[in-house]
């Protein structure tokens, strides 16, 4: 457990936070790590707040509980900041990553006195520019990779290209946009 990195995702049903959490686990797995990715399940439908989790470790992961004291929190939808206690249990030496166009200074008052690091990325803008649609989960995945440093950028991009090629085998035209979304997010997260 000691060397296990724990990440909690907050999103809304339909935004792809669960998929991003599972993708992060997959990426970590492909770099030789042990990883666990899982959503917290309820009957929530499209739009409802949802939570998903990742554990990443160099040794076998046996714990099957939810995550209460994460090192990192990812907020895929900033409107959740007002309705979900996103920093609950978040370690002070950890960090929170938020999808927003706002600056850190503007966001900070919404974090209930959280003293750890705050990262922002405008995943909506990146997604609109690269994919033409609002799929924030792809840039958010890249941003959390950057923030956590679980994998170096190049390996990450190579791995993702591989999975996109597999996932989008029937519509290869979207691969380029998705790769672009990842690259921009890696660059723009601050």
């Amino acid at each position: 457990m000691k060397d296990t990195l724990e990440i909690r995702w907050h999103g809304r049903g339909g935004q792809g936070a669960k998929t991003a959490a599972l993708l992060l686990a997959e990426v970590a797995f492909k770099t030789g790590k042990y990883a666990q990715g899982f959503p917290e399940y309820g009957p929530e439908r499209m739009g409802a707040p949802i939570t998903a989790y990742d554990r990443i470790s160099d040794s076998e992961i046996r714990v099957h509980s939810n995550i209460y004291d994460p090192e990192f929190v990812v907020v895929v939808d900033e409107t959740l900041l007002e309705i979900v206690d996103v920093t609950a249990g978040l370690k002070e030496d950890g960090a929170i990553l938020i999808n927003t166009a706002k600056s850190k200074e503007e966001i900070l008052p919404l974090l209930k006195g959280y003293k750890g690091k705050v990262y922002t990325v405008d995943a909506r803008k990146i997604s609109m520019e690269t994919l033409g649609k609002n799929f924030p989960n792809t840039p958010m995945l890249a941003a959390i990779v950057k923030v956590t440093g679980v994998i170096d950028d190049e390996t990450f991009l190579n791995e993702m290209e591989g999975s996109f090629k597999h996932k989008f085998a029937r519509k290869p035209e979207v691969i380029e946009g998705n790769m672009q979304a990842l690259k921009v997010a890696l660059r723009e997260v601050k």
């Binding site: 457990m1 599972l22 997959e26 399940y41 992961i61 046996r62 509980s65 939810n66």
Partner: protein, 397 residues
């Protein structure tokens, strides 16, 4: 070469089924097992299997069709959870008494009342006396491995009983984890072709299944069925030994974790065993003599093995993930204590209801359980033998 993958428990089981390529798969969806037939439907659509996939109109019918298919001479299976399993209950008994080696991929979920989709074992525990073999998995890997072994156990001539391959809803079914898939041909060779002795579609001889049995026969039939279940103990172990040769992974009726000198032990089923192992390692670093028995086979119940392993313990907590409303403990508690009594195992023992309806179980929770056992051993006072963990209780001490 086995392939390392990152996969959910449902996808893992579906992959085992793809490799097995069963003959008939009648299905009806229910959360959280739905993904298994859904993955499988894709294999069917893409020609990766040549299974007859029958999209029936209810779980009662999916089990009934599986029984019909198996009696007809095919390798059959279905998948379900919770209310779906409850709806099958009548025909579960028929499958077992007809002695058809049907496989059921059970993804454990709380029974309705109130409606809840999360993990507990009340569905499969409700079917514990239906005459089915039940193997439970801690991880995605185990769910996969158990599925690969399922037909070998069920179809063994000394057994010929249906088998439930159980895993924890969402906790393993929907969580992706690192695991290993065996090569397709390794699984295919391990499982082999099904060659039924007698079956409805045998062109050389007619065959009749499912009679009315008057009192003169019924009890003898039940005993014969029970005897087959007794035989299953050895068969499960034998098949596990063979499986170890292709996978390197060891399985038995139970798994003992750091029990060699354990004074305080937990007996548990399913995914929470992993969380408990984490607690054990943590406590062992502080010199605490704690251990775990994970029950893999609940049917047949390895009472003697469990009791033997607990013989030297000072205090034991049996963890039940389903309420049986006996007011006297849960099913695992009741059966383990019976086995302990028979074996004159005198450890102070409590039975804890936990994780009901998906209530989370943490490492800290399990450390608390061991601390409770230490207190019990120190004072010699068991207190409430039957208790809840993680329950909000106004009268909690």
């Amino acid at each position: 070469m086995p392939k390392k993958v990152q996969m959910s428990g449902n996808e893992a089981v579906a992959n085992a089924l793809r490799q097995i390529n069963p003959d008939v798969f009648p299905m009806f969806p229910i959360t959280p097992s739905t993904e298994i037939p859904q993955y499988f439907a894709n294999y069917v659509s893409n020609g990766l299997v040549d299974t007859e996939f029958i999209t029936v109109e209810s779980e009662h019918s999916s089990m009934s069709a599986a029984i019909g298919a198996s009696a007809a001479g095919a390798r059959a299976l279905t998948a379900t959870s919770s209310a779906g399993l409850a709806f099958m209950w009548e025909v579960l008994g028929v499958a077992a008494s007809h002695r058809v080696p049907v496989v059921l991929a059970a993804v454990c979920r709380a029974l309705t009342g109130p409606l809840n989709i999360n993990c507990d074992h009340s569905d499969t525990m409700g079917a514990r006396d239906s005459g089915w073999i039940q193997l439970y998995a801690e991880t995605n890997q185990e769910a996969y491995d158990n599925m690969v072994m399922a037909y070998r156990i069920a179809e063994h001539k000394d057994v010929m009983l249906p088998i439930m391959i159980c895993q924890d809803g969402f906790i393993t079914s929907h969580a992706v984890m690192n695991m290993e898939l065996l090569d397709d041909d390794v699984v295919k060779n391990f499982v082999g072709e099904y060659e039924p002795e007698d079956y409805l579609l045998n062109p050389n001889e007619t065959y009749a299944v499912g009679p009315y049995a008057i009192t003169d026969y019924y009890m003898e039939s039940r005993k014969a069925q029970s005897h087959a279940m007794e035989n299953a103990k050895q068969v499960i172990k034998d098949i596990a030994e063979e499986f170890e040769k292709i996978s390197g992974r060891k399985y038995g009726l139970i798994e003992e974790y750091r029990m060699e000198d354990a004074e305080y032990a937990v007996v548990i089923i399913g995914s929470a065993a992993g969380t408990t192992k984490e607690a054990i390692d943590h406590m062992r670093e502080n010199g605490e003599k704690v251990g775990l028995i994970k029950v893999r086979s609940f049917r047949p119940f390895p009472g003697e093995e469990i009791a033997a392993s607990l013989k030297k313990c000072k205090a034991v907590a049996i963890m039940d993930r389903s309420e049986s409303f006996s007011t006297n403990g849960g099913p695992l508690g009741a059966e383990t204590m019976q086995a302990m009594y028979t074996a004159r195992c005198t450890a102070l023992t409590i039975d804890i209801m936990y994780g009901i309806g998906g209530r989370d179980v943490t490492v800290d929770d399990m450390i608390n359980v061991y601390d409770t056992l230490k207190d019990i051993a120190a004072t010699g006072e068991t207190g409430d033998v039957y208790r809840y963990m993680g329950l909000r209780d106004k009268e909690a001490k």
